[in-house]
């Protein structure tokens, strides 16, 4: 095992057969694609579940196959899959794996074998998750937050086996993430190429790096919570279970603290929001800079904002628990710390806008998605100000306002970035170009559709429509317009759902029939576009590692022959 990268010809693992090259592969690029394909596949399951939910909400009673239990199961699985198995895995396992070594000029991750194990554990966690759909009683219907006591009490769908597969799957996921995250962090810290200082790294790497560090510190809480709930479920312990009456009987449990689970869960859950958001922040910064042909505005500020957001996000978790029954005085502290996060976040938003300001903006598909992200993110961020304040949050809690908020800020926003990023790096990953028209059509359906879906939800929330309800029924305080809005949302959701097929058609068709892509089609300055082969070969850099002389944002430099200067170009 080498200790330093100065040695250019470090012995790499060399695949000998098709199986070790593409299945049991230790190449970070292959692992990245394995991660991405798995994540997107399971994400499609979650997308389908959301469509089923919308069918029920928009047209209650029309689909008798969707029973209340099913509805709750769809809600729970949709949430957990999207947050953990799609977004986290795709942004860190997928983009993290692909981009980190290429962007910092390394041949691979520092521990390719551990990296490979990480993917296979992730796949195992996904399989256990999917098994949950087929166990007796079906998957858990406890909501994605899995709050005990209800998650493991009679009456909740999947309280017998569904919850068990969910918890086991999460524990395996944490193990998988730990192996991957250790690799990402160590690679960034110890395996950069010559000249690549931390402050010359593209912001994508900064976002992924910080998110990986956060994941290593936040996922332990989820792991512990899952283990403890498994004990409560199978060993009869009372960690989270108070004495209570369930189905007319007093349970044998006593003295446990349901609040403890919520604290553990959100100590993971809130950083998780930023584990998903920070890579998206980083990637979108690069997309905006490249396609606006301007250096990112305030690079240092951006880096500090990323790390400060990462640190602060560990101090705000109980803002998810204002109505949980915790000591109300906590609300003051957590509301304050929550609102402080708005400062570095606002710095980032201003810097994106100032990067666009007077830029030479090319409205290609990745850029469209990046700009759309700024819209949805500002929007979701502002509704977060409502929910961060205790007194405003209490009436809005558990309404559709919350649903609208978090879908805007950590659902739609990162997904838009992911789409943008896939369009952006697709030519490098596959060596082919996608179809521009299909891409633009996909963008407009997705972007306008997202607003058509989530804007009315704010209105529903302010009217007090509760979330996670199977049907509203004969409820006095809910006006007729709510039903109309629900129908509208459902129709929009189904259109967006169908519209995603454009993306898949485009990607798969282009993979085989797309025109050959230029090695650097966007004229980007960062290292990943400078590989000797496109797609990059095993070992990434041929005989010699690249040497870096400048940051990744030298665009439109006055006096330069081209409108970008690659990182490898020596300073004059």
């Amino acid at each position: 095992m080498a200790t330093t990268l100065a040695d250019d010809l470090r012995p790499l693992h060399h695949p000998h057969s098709w199986v070790t090259r593409y299945v049991w592969s230790q190449d970070h690029k292959v692992i990245a694609i394995q991660y991405s394909v798995t994540a997107i596949s399971i994400g499609l399951v979650a997308l389908t579940l959301s469509a089923l939910m919308r069918l029920q909400l928009g047209f209650p009673g029309v689909f008798p196959a969707i029973q209340p239990d099913n509805y709750l199961q769809f809600v729970s699985m949709h949430g957990m899959i999207m947050v953990v198995y799609l977004l986290t895995a795709l942004l860190l396992g997928g983009f993290g794996n692909y981009l980190i070594p290429l962007m910092i000029g390394a041949r691979d991750m520092v521990f390719p074998f551990v990296n490979m194990l990480s993917f296979w554990f992730y796949l195992l966690s996904v399989i256990v998750l999917v098994v949950g759909f087929f166990v007796p009683g079906g998957p858990t219907g406890a909501g994605w937050t899995l709050y005990p006591p209800q998650a493991i009490s009679e009456g909740t769908p999947g309280h017998q086996w569904g919850i068990a597969t969910m918890l086991v799957s999460l524990a395996i996921f944490v193990v998988a993430f730990t192996m991957g995250g250790l690799n990402y962090v160590t690679t960034v810290l110890q395996a950069r190429t010559r000249g690549m200082t931390l402050m010359r790294m593209p912001l994508s790497v900064w976002g992924i790096f910080t998110a990986s560090v956060m994941g290593l510190l936040a996922f332990p809480a989820l792991f512990v919570a899952a283990i403890m709930m498994l004990f409560d479920h199978f060993a009869g312990t009372s960690f989270f279970m108070p004495m209570m009456q369930s189905m007319g009987r007093v349970t044998p449990t006593e003295g446990g603290s349901p609040l403890l689970f919520q604290h553990l869960f959100w100590f993971f859950g809130h950083p998780e929001v930023y584990i998903v958001a920070l890579p998206a922040f980083g990637i979108v910064s690069d997309l905006i800079s490249v396609h606006a042909r301007r250096n990112i505005f305030g690079y240092r500020m951006m880096v500090w904002a990323i790390t400060i957001i990462g640190a602060l996000s560990f101090l705000v978790w109980a803002h998810h628990m204002y109505v949980s029954g915790m000591n109300p005085y906590f609300g003051f502290f957590f509301a304050t710390s929550t609102l402080i996060i708005a400062i570095p976040t606002a710095i980032k938003v201003y810097n994106w806008l100032l990067t666009l300001w007077r830029g030479d903006i090319h409205l290609r598909v990745p850029m469209l998605f990046a700009i759309a992200f700024i819209f949805t993110f500002i929007h979701g961020g502002l509704s977060g100000l409502f929910l961060g304040n205790v007194s405003v949050d209490v009436p809005l809690s558990d309404t559709f306002f919350v649903v609208a908020h978090f879908h805007m800020v950590m659902g739609v926003s990162p997904v838009l970035v992911i789409f943008g990023a896939i369009y952006h790096w697709y030519p490098k990953i596959t060596g082919r170009m996608w179809n521009e028209t299909l891409g633009k059509l996909h963008f407009w359906i997705t972007f306008l559709g997202a607003y058509a879906i989530f804007l009315p939800m704010h209105y529903l929330g302010i009217l007090g429509v509760p979330r996670r309800y199977y049907a509203l029924g004969e409820t006095g305080f809910i006006p007729e317009s709510v039903h109309l809005a629900n129908e509208w949302i459902s129709i929009a959701a189904l259109i967006v759902f169908a519209g995603q097929s454009l993306f898949f058609v485009n990607m798969i068709w282009s993979l085989f029939k797309g025109p050959r892509a230029d090695p650097n089609p966007w004229g980007a300055a960062s290292l990943e576009w400078l590989t000797p082969q496109t797609p990059p070969a095993h070992g990434n850099w041929g005989a010699k590692l690249p040497v870096v002389y400048r940051w990744a944002y030298d665009y439109s430099v006055p006096g330069a022959p081209r409108d970008f200067i690659p990182q490898t170009e020596p300073r004059a």
Partner: protein, 231 residues
């Protein structure tokens, strides 16, 4: 402000150590210079593992605070009757002593590893593993005594709050699992040392990396000992 001012101020304000740290973090290639990748990774892993044990211990403390029944007196529960006399916490004291001693032998093994002394390194690592196995063995004895004689179960016990048994089995079990993994790791590395694997590769870092893990497991035990047995 003149351009030379900050530099001079830096020199005055920052100690040499701080300046070196700043230089390391602003350098290219590596933040931790000449540090084996595996060692860096082990440190980061241990940081993550710290959070796992912190969550376990914080959870335990919360439950202890919120339990409705009185917490059993650990001095009595973990007492052994030796020669007709009940000695509180004697077994735990011995276990702790054994584990701390194993950290000592591990440190010596790392030292001899640096000196490329194959025989002594392997012997000391084996001794460390032996101490570790002894610890796990005594833990098994403690568990069986609690389960068979005292009637402690995860869901309840005759002495008081049911959370006592639950957190005891969970936390010591998770720690015991760490020790067992450590013993296996030590045996593997020791056998590699003995077979001259690291002499051929010229790199004894694996010994130190295993040592890091082992010291961490010992450190965690100190906290478990303090918070669970002494409180």
């Amino acid at each position: 402000m003149s351009r030379t001012m900050p530099d001079r101020q830096d020199r005055e304000v920052l100690s040499p150590t701080l300046r070196e740290i700043a230089a390391d973090w602003s350098a290219d290639q590596e933040v931790f210079r000449h540090t084996h990748w595996g060692k860096a990774m082990m440190w980061i892993f241990l940081l993550s593992d710290t959070f796992i044990f912190s969550c376990f211990l914080t959870g335990y403390m919360t439950m202890r605070a919120s339990a409705v029944e009185p917490w059993p007196n650990t001095a009595e529960v973990f007492a052994l009757t030796i020669g007709g006399q009940s000695i509180p916490l004697i077994l735990i004291a011995i276990m702790t002593f054994v584990l701390i001693s194993s950290s000592g032998t591990m440190a010596m093994a790392v030292n001899f590893g640096y000196r490329r002394d194959k025989r002594k390194t392997a012997t000391l690592m084996l001794l460390t593993a032996l101490f570790g196995a002894t610890f796990v063995g005594m833990q098994a004895f403690e568990w069986s005594k609690l389960i068979l004689e005292e009637g402690v179960r995860p869901w309840g016990n005759p002495m008081g709050a049911p959370q006592f048994g639950a957190s005891f089995f969970m936390i010591t079990g998770f720690h015991g699992l760490h020790v067992s993994c450590g013993v296996i790791l030590l045996l593997i590395i020791a056998s590699k040392v003995a077979r001259g694997h690291y002499d051929r590769s010229g790199d004894y870092s694996a010994v130190e990396i295993a040592g890091l893990y082992w010291h961490f497991v010992d450190l965690v035990w100190v906290f478990i000992f303090a918070f669970f047995y002494l409180w």
